[in-house]
């Protein structure tokens, strides 16, 4: 098993992608702290999956401190941190209120900063073993190219990309690798919300038609699953990825490899 003996903490661990990551880490032999606002998270279900639940609001510094203290007491180190907590507001700049803008940055960007800030000392402890520690952020293909009506979300993900490179630079010499995964369209509650939302995404159309339209624009003719993301997270977390750092890993079924697909 790739992650035997490793200690991992995943934020947003009860969301669509987070849950798949937790399950994979456990399968690979890691001890996993599943951090989220509630044990149920966005899927309204709580798997008894063998993880250790930590209540964590990533926007709150005190929560981040408390979560890392719990890991320190229990394990004394942290090999893997996955910053998967995120929200999406489907609005243009003009439609976005300052409160919504601040909330987007609080969760997606500041949350990544806060959790990382207090995890890094524990990750340095882990790196003393000789194997590098792995910090994995969640960017998005939206940090490179824009989906309509997602202005704040796109901006927060661009910030995460830059933070990823900055942390890789600063903490590489300490044995900590930092990467970001940039998903495209992944079948999660967030995607279903996009289909059903008030933005320029769904607008109340037939969901099967929408899903087909999204699939058809992908070179792979499908959108991704949380398992697809967990597969790459698992690799980046493992020692096989010991030379991988500072990179933005786009996983989108080829969506962003192509130009606009005109209806010719």
């Amino acid at each position: 098993m790739k992650l035997d003996g490793k200690i991992a903490l995943v934020t947003g661990a009860r969301g669509g992608i987070g849950r798949a990551i937790v399950a994979r880490f456990i399968k690979e032999g890691a001890t996993v702290y599943a951090a989220d606002l509630t044990p149920h998270g966005s899927l309204n279900a709580h798997d008894d999956d063998g993880s250790i639940f930590l209540k964590l609001d990533v926007t709150q510094e005190a929560d981040a401190i408390a979560a890392m203290q719990a890991v320190r007491r229990g394990q004394g180190k942290l090999d893997i941190l996955v910053n998967a907590a995120g929200i999406e507001i489907e609005k243009t700049v003009e439609e976005t209120t300052l409160e919504e803008w601040n909330q987007s940055f609080a969760v997606n960007s500041t949350g990544t900063f806060l959790t990382s800030k207090y995890a890094l000392p524990l990750m340095r402890e882990a790196a003393k073993s000789g194997s590098s520690a792995s910090l994995i952020n969640f960017g998005s293909y939206d940090g490179f190219i824009a989906d309509p009506g997602l202005a704040a979300y796109c901006a927060t993900k661009g910030a995460v990309h830059a933070l990823t490179r900055a942390m890789a630079c600063d903490h590489g010499p300490e044995g900590i690798r930092v990467n970001a995964i940039c998903p495209g369209y992944i079948d999660t509650p967030m995607l279903q919300s996009f289909f059903n939302g008030d933005g320029s995404g769904g607008g109340g159309g037939n969901i099967e038609t929408l899903q087909k339209a999204v699939r058809d624009v992908h070179p792979m003719r499908t959108y991704g699953t949380p398992t697809d993301i967990a597969n790459l997270v698992n690799w980046l977390a493992s020692d096989e990825a010991r030379y991988a750092s500072g990179q933005l890993w786009v996983l989108d079924g080829g969506l962003s490899a192509q130009v606009q697909q005109m209806k010719l």
Binding site: D147, L210, Q260
Partner: protein, 243 residues
């Protein structure tokens, strides 16, 4: 007159983007030479020198090469095929003109260019992201992008080298593409909706960037790829929403 007193050599000046650049350079005061396969095209201003030249032929390029302040490698061809459908002859044509042609001209002209010279290669958004069934064209433009950076690195500070990456530019080829659609009007409407500026590019749009890159205003710009596509590749391929 931002290019007064400068000499420019523009490949592929018969039509389209190349002709647009020739005209813009002339109006900014440059002395312009251009070239292409075949005889001098009608309508080319009399004070523009024309050479009959296939840029994929290194010996012919070496004979034509001259001292010039500005070199624009614009000549290009495209073959619309996947890798599997592409023949060896297609490879010779596309890579010969688009890749080897740019290389031939740079190798021949760089030693003759004075300090402060500017090379402008025409890359493409297709060198960054893939157009379907344009495998060799896409690859040839990625070559241009890579060579652009190499020349900038190797031949700075004497010579600057940049690439312009056009998106969809209104030429005869664009309309020919729409004519092949089941519903040409609808196809054009869909394509326009995918451009943030809601129009296609014109040769003048590319020429405007070429003038700037050729001018002394761009003295610190080198080794870069400048995308001019009306915002098309800034948006997700799902834009403007398939719903």
């Amino acid at each position: 007159m931002r290019l007064a007193g400068k000499c420019a050599f523009v490949t592929g000046g018969r039509q389209g983007i190349g002709r647009g650049i020739v005209n813009a350079f002339l109006s900014e005061g440059a002395t312009v030479t251009t070239c292409g396969r075949g005889p001098r095209p009608g309508g080319l201003p009399e004070d523009v020198v024309w050479h009959e030249l296939n840029v994929s032929d290194p010996a012919a390029v070496n004979i034509i090469a001259e001292a010039t302040d500005i070199l624009v490698n614009n000549a290009g061809v495209q073959v619309e095929k996947t890798v599997v459908d592409t023949t060896d002859a297609d490879w010779e044509l596309v890579m010969g003109v688009n890749a080897r042609g740019v290389f031939n001209c740079c190798r021949a002209f760089v030693p003759l260019m004075p300090k402060g010279g500017s090379i402008i290669n025409i890359g493409s958004i297709s060198g960054n992201v893939a157009d379907p069934s344009m495998a060799l064209y896409n690859a040839s433009k990625a070559f241009v992008h890579g060579l652009t950076r190499s020349i900038a690195v190797d031949h700075g500070p004497d010579i600057r080298c940049n690439a312009i990456c056009p998106g969809w530019i209104e030429t005869g080829m664009l309309d020919a593409g729409f004519d092949l659609a089941d519903d040409p009007a609808k196809a054009k409407q869909d394509a326009l909706a995918r451009h943030a500026v809601r129009r296609f590019g014109k040769p003048d749009d590319i020429a405007a960037m070429a003038v700037w890159l050729a001018s002394n205003e761009a003295a610190f710009a080198t080794g870069q790829l400048f995308v001019i596509d009306g915002g098309m590749t800034a948006a997700s391929p799902l834009y403007p929403g398939l719903f």
